[in-house]
Amino acid sequence: MNEGTGEGAPDSIPASSPPVSGQPLAPRRRWVLERVASIGASAQAAIPGLYAWAITVAPAAWSRGAPLLAKAAAVVGVVALVTAPFVEGAGSLAAPAGGAFVPQAADIPPNARTKLIESVRSWTGPTWARAWSVWGFVLSSALVWALAPSALSSARLDGVRGALGMVGWALFAFSSAGPALRPDPSSAGRIVASTSLKPRSELPRGDGVYVAIGIVLALAMQGVGWGVVVPERAVLVRLVTVVCGIAVVSGTTSIALARHATRVPASRRVRLRRALPWIVMLALVAASGVVVEMGR
């Protein structure tokens, strides 16, 4: 998500030339990234963080039987998310170039306690905002879940809501770890102009269809068994469907790759002979099932 790769492309490259690595981004995309970067890293993380809080933390804190301390911790989490952009803005004058988080403590010997304290004192606004946003939100949420553990049980938490909450937490982690940053003016000198890279081989036509069919089949299996009440059986069904989905994707991929392998005229007989035991076994198992079903 780091923006700014398009800064300072050489002027000697004509507009009609083929795509060149390091050319400026499209104006629209560049404008969007600059707007996102201008709101600051903490503000970017606050949006998915608030979403995750509303889905996974607030229902637990305000669930029946949750102590008052859980509600207070949940409020602290929201406060951490909302106030972090202000903390970041308060120290923006002393922020490093690009607003990036620079771990100054990494350059300090581990036993030099005084230097470490000095390093903490030298933290700028973005660094404090990042620590306050991430640790304040995460620790307060963990405290809420620890105080109200029954709110996260499978009987009380809806599956779709839980999955959406996971997505929210993943987006919060992603935006906290790699936010869109302001362009670095010094990046212009690091860009090496060259022609676009060409693949060594083209992807054979039709392979994508095979893989797509396999993925669709595998995804279709994942829709089975979400209404199972017993937790152990529900986990077993999920495990079985995932394993079966992986097997189907692997099978379709093997078939797609085999289409391009070297084939010899006599291979048809060999292949039939090789697959015959499995086909016979399949017929036997299917026939036995039909017989057992008719005998009932």
Binding site: V224, V237, V240, C244, S254, V264, V270, L272, W278, L282
Partner: protein, 80 residues
């Protein structure tokens, strides 16, 4: 999938034409077996969700065998 080397498409005319059509039939059969395996897996998972364990095992075995047959059918190499 080790041992598979990507090669240009097989010839559609000349000496390899007959085997090419036959191999297309095998490809279609293999694809049908894989789709059938997926259906069997789905039925097996549904039976497992209903707590019909014997039925689930039956369908899962059907799926494994069908998938294995489909992959074996298209494995390259005359002597493999």
């Amino acid at each position: 999938m080790s041992g598979i080397h990507l090669a240009p498409p097989i010839p559609t005319t000349g000496r390899g034409a007959l085997s090419w059509s036959a191999m297309h039939v095998l490809d279609v059969l293999a694809a049908l077996l894989v789709v059938g395996a997926a259906a069997a897996f789905t039925f097996g998972a549904m039976a497992l969700a209903r707590a019909s364990d014997v039925e689930a095992i039956y369908f899962l075995v059907i799926g494994v065998v069908a998938l294995r047959a489909g992959v074996q059918l298209v494995r390259p190499g005359a002597g493999a």
